[in-house]
């Protein structure tokens, strides 16, 4: 009885909405750009990485609604996106005059998002830049959105109105290892816009395919991977931390994930890091459903050290 009431509350509305996914603007000819910048100062690094791609003005205009989606899934600051990187992105957005900025997250099942914001330091950053900070788990209203026509397992995705109404999604994941999904970067980070009930369905139906299907409709327009401290060997919490001071940015989430996971496997000392990165199932499946490109020959990587 309780369960059916709960289900009807989530799936009660019959209205199914549509969302248009924009094409990746950061390309050179046919190649999608990925920038890998190394420097001690996070603010400089993030600025340089976005400028190398072609500037943030390509995707954002001042009157847009911008959603910044960090990874604040755990109540452990070593497993969350560092506040400096989030702060750097917010300051870049404020510089070009964006007014409507939201930071939103729905943490892992069995973790309190409000507490995580406080522990990881995101709350202080949000206060400093005066942006909206939203714990999605406390939002009652939900909407159903149709997935892309190439999605295989999921037809609709249940999410929150704030996420659906945003014009631009900026994903700020942290480069980490994951028990089941092998790596957790920008594609897996988008699972943080779902209610608790739907996360369980992802695991029941097959995680890798569902992550790929989710990204056909909620594809991040800009990915800034926080690889300042990389979590290797174990994850998503309690792994070995390696300091690299790297920021990886791209407009193509699949390409960014491929290059980032290559870096992760290099740090672990794997013999063929690129081959292992290409074998990560959800990256491969995301390419199949048309989210981005996972072919090293159609990606141009810009390495720089400041």
């Amino acid at each position: 009885m309780y369960k059916t009431m709960f289900l009807s509350r989530i799936w009660g509305s019959k209205e199914v909405l549509k969302r248009e996914v924009r094409r990746n603007p950061y390309t050179r000819g046919e190649l999608s750009l990925v920038s890998v910048i190394r420097s001690k100062d996070p603010l400089k690094t993030v600025k340089a990485s976005i400028e190398e791609l072609g500037g943030i003005e390509k995707i954002i205009e001042p009157d847009y609604k911008v959603l910044v989606k960090p990874n604040v899934g755990f109540s452990d600051s070593s497993a969350d996106t560092s506040p400096e990187v989030v702060g750097a992105i917010l300051s870049i957005l404020k510089d070009i005059g964006v007014k409507d900025i939201t930071i939103a997250e729905s943490a892992v099942r069995g973790s309190n998002t409000t507490y995580n914001f406080r522990v990881s330091g995101i709350e202080q950053v949000a206060k400093k830049f005066d942006v909206k900070l939203i714990d999605l788990k406390r939002v009652e209203k939900k909407v159903k959105v149709l997935t892309g026509n190439r999605a295989k397992k999921l037809k609709t995705i249940t999410t929150y109105p704030i996420v659906y109404e945003s014009d631009v999604i900026i994903s700020v994941p942290r480069l980490k290892r994951h028990v089941e999904a092998v790596v957790t970067i920008s594609l897996k980070n988008m699972m943080g816009i779902l209610p608790d009930m739907d996360k369980a369905i992802f695991h029941l139906r097959g995680l890798h395919q569902c992550i790929a299907d989710l990204n056909t409709v909620f594809k991040p327009d800009l990915v800034v991977v926080d690889a300042t401290e990389v979590m290797t060997r174990r994850g998503p919490q309690g792994g070995d931390l390696v300091k690299t001071d790297t920021i990886i940015a791209s407009g193509d989430p699949v390409a960014a994930d491929l290059i980032a996971s290559k870096l992760l496997f290099e740090l672990e000392g794997t013999t063929n890091p690129m081959g292992k990165a290409m074998n990560v199932k959800h990256i491969k499946l995301a390419e199949e459903v048309g989210v981005g490109t996972a072919d090293p020959n159609s990606i141009e990587v810009i390495y720089r050290r400041l």
Binding site: V108, G110, T114, V179, E180, A200, H203, L207
Partner: protein, 189 residues
Amino acid sequence: MNLLKRLSIILTRSVLYPVFLKLLPKRAVVRPPGAINEKDFLRKCARCGACIVACKNMGSGVLVSCTVHDGILMYGTPKLDTSRAYCEIVLGICEERQPCIEACIYGVLKPVKGVVKLGYVEWDSTKCIQVKQGGCLVCVEVCPMGAVEVGEDRRPKFDKEKCIGCGRCVYACPASPKALRLVPRTFLL
């Protein structure tokens, strides 16, 4: 009359109550943090429900009152229901202030310090999604204590010593019925 009343109270407390405690069936439930031993708990707890209301308003809402199915004597006492939430006393909002313990005026829930062990988790391999079809391991993902490890056969292994019984993995388990169950550490009567 007064004497009769007094006698009956003495009789109930000394003879009938211990007999009922022994004879009536009880289900082992997990008590809120800081609970005293079960025998005194049942005797002292007034079944006022203050801790349950406090948990609902200020905490995560994990506490519910026991039903008659848990035992007639248990009726009204607080227990952890991990199907609706999890206990936030470790790495959660209740770390600094414990609303349930503050709400108790009968001395049933005593103030706690450091790591609180509420119970431990039992795993049923026949219901586990990871064993049946693979692709889950949510329990490993969410454990804040690192008490769940993945073996070489890609199955979760639960460390009873490290487990504190917060119930995060039980709440997060996507299987239906749940493959995990929270069990109290001591339930002596």
